[in-house]
């Protein structure tokens, strides 16, 4: 009964000062909206990257020179195709091993130009990385061993160079050297703002000749089974270190990449949420401020309520409810605004966003908590008012 009265009075107080209540809520609305939208963007980015890494398959082992540790400088590779042969012998199956050497190159077809990431790879690459062709065919083992100048185009490179025309069998130049197109990839989309369809795959031998080198950047292995993937990684690294005594090598699995990326993006999301949380804090201070004004304005009413039998607690609960009502209504509006903003970002920009139920529950909980935290001091002050003094106030 008393609680129902407190609700009624709190609602009535908010209605009586619509503009003031609205402006105070706005601070909470903006804070909650910012938290929900930014957490949504962080979550969406994390999910997208995780999907992409998972798309690589769980048995993938990536071997690169150097140590994968925070603070270690990138190492220039000394690996060559001979290393690939050595690794293939350890794995026991050449089709499970892929190598890459990459370089940004200007690509032309007739008068059209595109800037693409040229990847010198082996014929096993579509199997190891699960890349599907839209048209044509990939190159063969003999293409790789003879260094034929053939190329498979990423979706956006193909579109830029040939538009709607079929590129299969046509000539392009990469870094001024002629290549013939044998196939195109299915689109992959973007990742962290990078267009993954701007790749061109060519036989690694042809790429090495074009770049005037015999080295490779790194290699990847599709392990036969998941259980012995760590064991395999150790064997490969040991063999490579034996061949290159001056260089460290690292073998990482998909789980390790996911773990590292997840940590980084989790921290990023946390930082974004914390920055947005500061505006929620400022909104809370606004609530506190307006509640103190409300207590002062209604001192006579507090005195009267006490005279007719309201306990300090009854008065305190009434003002606390008013504050919590302010922040939770603001919180719900802020959630709606934040979800809308996140969905718009997801739809209209390359940045992905995903709304999770826990972030909404958290936002609602936090806005209620802000009301309690920032309402408790004004409420206590109201509850402790001396009825004699309060009744006398003009």
């Amino acid at each position: 009964m008393r609680l129902a009265e407190a609700w009624r009075v709190a609602l009535d107080a908010l209605r009586a000062n619509r503009l003031r209540s609205g402006l105070t809520m706005l601070g909470v609305v903006i804070g909650v909206a910012a938290v929900v939208a930014l957490v949504g963007i962080g979550t969406g980015t994390k999910q997208q990257i995780e999907r992409q890494v998972e798309g690589l398959g769980s048995n993938l082992l990536i071997v690169v020179p150097g140590r994968l540790e925070a603070g270690s400088a990138p190492t220039v590779s000394t690996m060559t195709l001979d290393d690939m042969e050595a690794v293939s012998r350890i794995v026991g199956d050449r089709s499970r091993v892929a190598v890459t050497i990459s370089s940004g190159e200007t690509v032309r077809a007739g008068s059209r130009t595109s800037f693409a990431s040229m990847q010198g790879v082996t014929e096993s690459t579509p199997t190891v990385f699960v890349r599907r062709l839209a048209r044509g065919r990939y190159f063969s083992r003999s293409d790789v061993s003879t260094g034929r100048r053939v190329a498979v185009l990423g979706a956006s490179v193909a579109r830029q160079l040939f538009g709607e025309r079929d590129p299969i069998g046509r000539q392009i130049t990469i870094g001024g050297v002629r290549f013939r197109v044998t196939g195109t990839f299915e689109p992959l989309g973007q990742s962290l703002g990078v267009d993954r369809d701007s790749e061109i795959h060519v036989p690694v031998s042809a790429a090495q000749r074009l770049l005037g080198t015999d080295r490779i950047d790194g290699l990847a292995i599709r392990a036969p089974d998941r259980e012995r993937i760590d064991q395999l990684g150790t064997a490969v690294v040991d063999a490579l270190v034996e061949r290159h005594p001056d260089t460290d090598f690292s073998a990482v699995t998909q789980e390790q990449i996911l773990g590292v990326l997840g940590d980084i993006l989790g921290v990023l999301t946390g930082v974004l949420a914390a920055i947005a949380g500061i505006s929620l804090l400022v909104g809370g201070v606004g609530v506190s401020n307006i509640m103190l004004v409300s207590v002062r304005e209604r001192t006579r009413e507090i005195g009267l309520r006490k005279a007719v039998g309201a306990r300090p607690r009854d008065i305190g609960v009434q003002f606390l409810l008013e504050a919590v009502l302010l922040t939770t209504i603001g919180g719900v509006l802020g959630m709606a605004l934040g979800v809308t903003a996140a969905l718009l970002v997801d739809r209209l920009s390359p940045v992905p966003a995903a709304i999770t139920w826990w972030s909404l529950a958290l936002a609602f909980g936090v806005s209620a908590a802000v009301g309690i935290i920032f309402g408790v001091v004004p409420a206590q002050r109201a509850g402790r008012l001396d009825p004699v003094v309060a009744l006398r106030t003009e």
Partner: protein
């Protein structure tokens, strides 16, 4: 029958900027059930301070004060609130009605804090408004009523809890003389029904309507007159 309020040697001193200002010095007073008592005095005589003490809004700094058998010095603020709710009805000079709130809801307010259900609250509020002659004003808000009507609403609110003592602080102070007289007549009729009435006023003519008078000056009772009421109505 036990006395409703017993004050014995009650003093109340305020601390104002490190200086002790005595507002009440050793006042003894008994309010019996069914009593009709006027406390008269100029402003600053301590009559309002005494009324606040008798109504359980304040505590004495010295002396003993029993309201319906309970020593107010031993009560917590919450217990004092409950004692006020059950025992005392207040009527103020400036009415102290809640704005934007109907007469009915204003009258029902003390019942909210007593924990009475909504349906019963409304029924009792309407009955009390009928008793003070405002059956036609149940849904009106204070700003839609005259001063006399507002004070009647306030009186109905004071009575809705069925208190043993009605404390009226200058109840006619903001009213014209005709309206004031009708409000006084209402208080007299309520007293005739058995409610003890304590009337605080600076007006000796009004005080004369009470069965006994207490005159205050400088925080002390300087004269007490009239019969001490000891029986029922």
């Amino acid at each position: 029958m036990t006395a409703a309020i017993v004050a014995h040697g009650v003093s109340r001193t305020y601390e104002l900027g490190g200086v002790s200002v005595p507002a009440l010095r050793g006042v003894s007073l008994t309010v019996e059930p069914g009593d009709f008592l006027a406390i008269v005095g100029a402003s600053g005589s301590g009559k309002s301070t005494l009324m606040h003490l008798l109504g359980g809004l304040d505590r004495p700094t010295a002396g003993s004060l029993m309201i319906r058998g309970r020593d107010v010095r031993t009560l917590s603020p919450a217990e004092m609130a409950r004692l006020r709710n059950e025992t005392i009805g207040f009527v103020f000079q400036s009415f102290h009605l809640l704005a934007r709130t109907s007469a009915q809801d204003n009258v029902a307010l003390p019942l909210v804090y007593r924990g009475v259900g909504r349906r019963e609250r409304q029924a009792r509020a309407v009955a009390m408004l009928e008793r003070v002659g405002l059956a036609h004003r149940v849904q009106h808000r204070p700003n839609q009523m005259s001063g006399g009507e507002q004070q009647r609403v306030a009186i109905a609110r004071a009575l809705v809890t069925d208190p043993s003592v009605l404390l009226a602080d200058e109840p006619t102070g903001n009213l014209d003389s005709v309206t004031g007289r009708s409000v006084l007549a209402l208080l007299e009729s309520l007293n005739a029904d058995g409610v003890a009435v304590v009337l605080v006023t600076h007006d000796r003519d009004i005080a004369a309507r009470a069965r006994r008078q207490i005159v205050m000056r400088d925080g002390e009772i300087v004269r007490a007159s009239g019969e001490v009421w000891t029986g029922g109505p």
